[in-house]
Amino acid sequence: MMMNSTSIVYLIALPLAGAVILLLAGRRSDKWGHLLATALCASSFFVGLYQLSLMFNRPSQERPVSQKLFEWISVGTFKIDAGLLLDQLSICFVLLITGVGTLIHIYSISYMAHDPHRRRFFAFLNLFIAAMLLLVLGDSYLNLYVGWEGVGLASYLLIGFWNEKPAYATASKKAFVMNRIGDMGLSFAIMIAFATMGTVSFIGVQAAVEQTSTPVLTGIGIMLLVAAIGKSAQFPLQAWLGDAMAGPTPVSALIHAATMVTAGVYLITRSNFIFDAAPTAQLLVVIVGAITLMFGALIGTAKDDIKKALAASTMSQIGYMILCAGLGPVGYAFAIMHLLTHGFFKAGMFLGAGSVMHGMNDEVNMRKYGALRKAMPITFVTFGLGYLAILGIPPFAGFYSKDMIIETAFNAGGSKGIILGIVTLLGAGITAFYMTRVMILTFTGTPRWDEKAQPHESPWLMWLPMAVLAIGSATSGYLLSSNDSLVKWLSPLFESHEEHHELLPPIIVSALALVMVAIGVAIAFLKYSRREIDAVAPKNVSIFTRIAREDLMQDRLNEAVFMRPGQELTKTLVKTDAVIIDGAVRAVGRLTIATGLSLRRVQNGFVRSYAAFILMGALAMIVAIWVVVQ
């Protein structure tokens, strides 16, 4: 039996209280709202640290703790408690969310200092933290679902934070609608699980997997995958992530790089017992991961918008994680490790991008940057550490986590292993190419600034979180993988059956990866460093570049395949509704009115005509009697 704890709820309650207070207090909290929100987020982080220390002091089988909050739904045999579960997996997420979250809160104090709605921004940030924590702490799929929807809402609110610009409002709507598809998948998965297993709690489902037939498990697995695809911007639902960059940069760093978009990875890892028993679903996971990996990387090569380039990179990196999570028990821990290191370096790089934008009058086009190294030394260094980490240069974080993934991919066995290995290697190379491109365009070369631009370093409140994250980018990989600490930490959760068919020894994989990275960097240098870069994106480019600039035609495809037919269908339905259904309803209404109008004449207010009606009634009765007697 799992140990009970009474303090898990504070993890969620603190940021939630912040959101509630800030939203209810309104303008009165404008002066101190951001401080309160940051303090609450930080205190949630410390609660997380305290929980971690408690966990360390217990033997590994007793580490998970749970807390029952209240009886949520009780209908007949259908009973669901609102309960929390804190185990080795959740605590990783809790610390990532609250830790990175706190840093980004601090960063935002300065970044949003001149925004009139800063308090609202912090309220939404706190709301997001609370929802994300609920997502990773829920002890059943239904509780997870609440958090899942909560982060969707917070993401929607924050992407559209500057909703006075129609394009931003549209971007938030797009993100929300595309997420909805994933949410449908999750709700279907929950329904199937309940219909076949009679329970939706993680423990219950895990226990019931053995008695459940494989097709059902495959169905649940695919639906869970759909959910993960929607939330983590995987192929084919990835189109929203680029537009989501409309939100303030700290939001991009927190939600669309470090935490929310990785919820899909969490979902798949959390449901490992289902995917392990459903090989088809697992294979689909791998395929989706591999496609997205390449997809994101290719988009990243053509983007001039620094945030969109980073978003494409995020998409690609999550593709790595999904792929790895799809590789079964050997992959889960590495997926989580890459998730954590990615949380550090990608958040750090986003904050760096925010810092650059801060210094460049909110310019996002990298072709208008250049030579910012001298103007923003701290940003350059922190961004550069993140860059080294994502490339996988030893000893930075990415080296450990990404190499593990490539290695695991090669070791998946058979032709699958070879294909996946090549894809991941290629991805690493392309990643190196586009990230080098970002570095070159932004920090080196000659200035291509606007006349008004006055590049300057950001205040300490902004560079401090960047520095912390940069340190994390540099060291987290080593810390997590030395002595296999994370793998061992997580191992009680996953069935580990060691079946190593090593295709290539680790050292060769690392070498191959480094070679690929070197090639990518070299190409980027050749292409961008040796000649002048146009301040305006050139038009006469190859068809491939054009396609990549258009997000590999994803929006057009969506528009042609789903949106237009959908619009036509809606129009037809509206017309049907207006003519047939409304027509019928209105006809009933008109008939009633007409009947009423004609009957109203009877109610003329004259007593004598009422008396006449009584007389006619009496006549009718007499007639009836007469007929009966007849």
Partner: protein
């Protein structure tokens, strides 16, 4: 009285004679109620119908009811009707022209159908035996028989009805209670009004009917010094009722002064 009634009931021929004379008259009177224009005339015809019904009651061996009918209806109720008629006076409601379209044909058709079918049904109904007659029940006297029933079988309804009577009396009092909205004008106020109000024309009081007239009846207007009639001299309710004699008959012609001139 009792004996008379019994005799009437027992001997068929005198009762039939009575019925065939009185029943048509009753029907005519009832129809007249509908057709005459003035409510007072309706009331008189109503009184006739009541008395006729009282006679029928007595003829059918119900002398107590007959007497009660005369006392209650022709005595109390009709008196009340006439009193209210006097109070309310006459107005346009006495007109017989129908104002609600289509009501009269409907009413008459329905009534003819109703009456016709009732009569047709009655003519078809059979008791299967001849009428028993109340002679046996009245053997101790009609009043005694009714009293017997009223104070045994019907004692509870009797008590309830007494409560109803009291309630009705109270209700009538409540309804008729007039709540004065304005202060009752004092003598002083009245005489101020008389001189200070709209005109001085009536300051000396309205002309009395019959003054300067050749006729001193209350329904004849007074004649003004120039010989024309004075409408103000007639009571308003008499005028409304139309009970005003044409005064032109009594007007003085042009005064012939030729004889005086000759002298």
């Amino acid at each position: 009285m009792n004996e008379v009634a019994l005799q009437v009931g027992q001997t068929a021929a005198p009762e039939a004679l009575l019925f065939w004379i009185l029943a048509p008259l009753t029907l005519i009177a009832a129809l007249g109620m509908l057709l005459v224009k003035k409510a007072v005339h309706s009331a008189i015809l109503m009184a006739f119908v009541m008395i006729a019904l009282a006679i029928f009651y007595i003829a059918q061996g119900a002398p107590f009811l007959g007497i009660v009918q005369i006392v209650v209806y022709t005595g109390a109720v009709m008196m009340l009707f006439l009193f209210i008629l006097m109070l309310v006076g006459v107005d346009s409601s006495d007109s017989l022209t129908e104002t609600i379209r289509g009501l009269r044909p409907i009413a008459i058709t329905a009534a003819v159908g109703f009456g016709g079918l009732m009569v047709s049904l009655l003519s078809r109904a059979t008791l299967g035996r001849s009428a028993v007659g109340v002679e046996a029940a009245n053997s101790d006297g009609n009043v005694e028989g009714i009293a017997q029933l009223l104070f045994s079988t019907y004692v509870w309804p009797f008590e309830v009805v007494s409560a109803l009577l009291i309630t009705a009396a109270l209700g009538a009092m409540v309804l008729a209670h007039h709540h004065r909205i304005q202060e009752r004008p004092t003598q002083r106020q009245l005489s101020i009004d008389r001189f200070r109000k709209d005109s001085l024309a009536t300051a000396a009081g309205l002309p009395a009917p019959g003054v300067f007239a050749r006729h001193n009846a209350v329904d004849v207007p007074a004649l003004l010094p120039d010989g024309s009639p004075a409408p103000a001299s007639i009571n308003a309710s008499l005028k409304a009722r139309g009970d005003v004699l044409d005064s032109s008959r009594f007007e003085l012609g042009t005064v012939d002064t030729s004889a005086d001139e000759e002298k």
